[in-house]
């Protein structure tokens, strides 16, 4: 169970890092009124954020029932 929990934590860490990277890119494009900012926003910022969110949701959806309570015996 501990190993499983470490795996879940690891995935959530990766998801968090992906989302954070995507959000930083999005933040950078917000105040840059240039045609390239739209491309950067969609192809890098939104893509990284969406990948992180999907990984997080996948982690939630595939965790075993024993993990629902979050207790480690």
């Amino acid at each position: 169970v501990r190993r499983l929990q470490r795996t879940l934590e690891g995935r959530i860490r990766v998801a968090g890092r992906l989302i954070a990277a995507g959000l930083v890119v999005q933040l950078g494009t917000l105040f840059w009124n240039h045609a390239l900012s739209f491309i950067l926003f969609t192809s890098v910022g939104a893509l990284l954020t969406s990948a992180g969110v999907l990984l997080y949701l996948h982690t939630l959806a595939t965790r075993p029932p024993s993990e629902l309570g979050g207790e480690v015996p």
């Binding site: 879940l8 959530i12 989302i19 954070a20 999005q26 045609a35 390239l36 910022g45």
Partner: protein, 202 residues
Amino acid sequence: MALTLALLILLDLTLIAFILARPAHLATAAGRVLAFVALFLLPGVAVSRGLSLHLHESKTTSFCLSCHVMAPYGRSLRVDNADSLPASHFQNRRIHRDEACYTCHTSYAMFGDLRAKLGGLRHLYVNYLGTIPDEIELYRPYNNRECLHCHAGARSFEESELHLDEREALASNETSCLECHDVAHDLAAAQRTDTLWKEPGS
């Protein structure tokens, strides 16, 4: 709106940093709720609002003129020539100055917005990865519908005898508005940058 979104992103980044620094909190109910907010709700809001903001920004004149190749067309909005359609519309506030290009170069038919966005992506591709043509032309002849979207029903248009005579032909595109109003972008005058009109107070 950009500032609000920036603050929301900063808040989310703080929450994510907390989760990454203290992963043990994920074992608690509060930690799981926090993770759901930081890793699902707030990023979802950030992406959807960000996309909406960028789509809005893509309608602005400064966005279109951010590509170097469009600079002469931007200057042509300010030429001192009353016969130039873009200049007279821009300078006399017949269109929103912030959305000058988009107002006239978007189809007012169904999916016109979508078509304009796809066209914009194509322009970006050509500008950065393709070959920019020596002479920039419209994809298809300018449709009178875009002019009539505003001018149909306007007194100056309706009471003009010339327009009355050509009413049917104009509506059906048999006669183009540009046959008489034939100075679209006055690029020659736009080269003389010292004579360009400036907004009062600018």
